[in-house]
Point group: C2
Chain length 330, copies 2
Amino acid sequence: MSAALTLPRAATLCPLPAEWPLCRGGVLRGGWLAYTMAGPAAAPALAVLGGISAGRLVAADPATGAKGWWAEQVGPGRPLDTTHWRVVGIDWLGGAGLSSAPRAGAAFPTVDTRDQAAALACLLDALAIDRLAALVGCSYGGMVGLQFAAMHPDRLARLLVLGAAHRSTVAAAAGRTVQRGIVELGVRAGDPAAGVALARGLALLGYRTPEGLEQRFGAVAATGAAHEHAPVADWLAARGQSFAAAWSAASYQCLLASLDLHHVEPAAIPVPTWLGSLAGDRLVPLELMAELAAALPQCRGHRELATQHGHDGFLCSPAAVGDWLTEVLS
Amino acid sequence: MSAALTLPRAATLCPLPAEWPLCRGGVLRGGWLAYTMAGPAAAPALAVLGGISAGRLVAADPATGAKGWWAEQVGPGRPLDTTHWRVVGIDWLGGAGLSSAPRAGAAFPTVDTRDQAAALACLLDALAIDRLAALVGCSYGGMVGLQFAAMHPDRLARLLVLGAAHRSTVAAAAGRTVQRGIVELGVRAGDPAAGVALARGLALLGYRTPEGLEQRFGAVAATGAAHEHAPVADWLAARGQSFAAAWSAASYQCLLASLDLHHVEPAAIPVPTWLGSLAGDRLVPLELMAELAAALPQCRGHRELATQHGHDGFLCSPAAVGDWLTEVLS
């Protein structure tokens, strides 16, 4: 695997086809996918895919000190128990992890959610995993899961989708239009990190609920304190800057475009599917997932999970999510 | 009125105190307020104040060809009938009209909603209007109306507030934090108009409802068409650019800050007040106006007006608004 020679050694890398045509017309040359595995080699395999800012490090790993973006759900004794399942996690193509992504000055092709699903299929080939016992996908990972199920129904026994659907709402697409414009303005200002941070701050507002923000920051807002010092502004800035420390403008644009382009025909998904909506989710509202549920040939359930946090409930409300995972996978 | 010599002749200008200390510490020197009057001189006076992008031209004026931002509500035979009322409209201090506002290269003080209310009081002095029969304020104009009622309760018989409250929600303040950041990024990129246009596009999303956007643009979104050509993106760009043609970055920042700083103590408003909420308003939700209604000593009614358009319902749903105005003022 020649590509690995020029890359950090801590990552496990799976080479993708040397000359790989992507869905939207581009070609990825010499690409690779970074991944992790946790759990016994003989155990049934699960793929666990998160939002655009999640990656291969799903479970906490005491050996490396990795926190794991879904450590509450994945690990020994957790709802996705790594003593019973073999859990596969990946870094997104085009993203901020160690998979192939835009490099400074080099063109990078448009990455569709179907391309991410195809990359996962390549990885499963490399790992000799014929069929996943389940794919659990949250947010962007749920979109990729829907594509995978449409493209490779024979390689997947069960699909669990949390906070994702077959398409975007117009409001979500419009919000991303503004986010892409902000990133571009940052690049034009010679300060791409400022654009990425501000765009991420805007995205974050869509991941939360007005009620949740009010509860957390409302007491101070009521005093009419000078806006420059509003705690919610400080919070947005801090969260945006920490995101911008990890993400280049080109990678963020790549995955924002991928979110925008996502579309899958529910009727083409013959896999038994369970849907979870996050209460108050403004990005992927209950109604949109109900539209998906009604159009899926094999929808086995659509549950609204209790959370104060809206879309980010898949991260912020682990108990409700864990109960749902346990119930569906038991 | 010496200031008028250097200003467009079409506007009627009212000089403000030559050395005028504003609420947030700045001083406005040699300022003026642009205004219009419609209706008989002897008729009882109404002040009609709109959003930050509304101004002195409230009613249509066939003589000048002015469209009037609230022509459906104000004019002969309209709910605010200019054969029975004398209607006063103003351009906001700091805004895109003909009132004092930031000029290129010159510092401009922070303008609080209390300053706008004080400027209106100056204008009423100049016009020898002791007392308004009513003040009708929508959005930013409603905030200014609440301030006017708190500062000059003896000069106002009735206050009508549509889509405005005593404070902002945290979510609205957070959205404006991002908008101000976008405008600043545009200035840094050497393209302030691009920043203003993009920030206005973002603001616009808060003025509408997800359902309304879905209804208008949803059919195309479902096809998964390339995001660059999404009709909602074109709409945001066109609306943003038309706003940016009229607004400087400095003026927009001035009124965004004014929105952010707005706060009034409802208990300090002894004027009989009627509140109208726009159904689905995400910027000024029903719950926030209910909080205001409960805290006002003289709240005479709080109605939710039917609209598909959320906050922009005060412009986009004239029939529901007209019925409410007629009922309250009859």
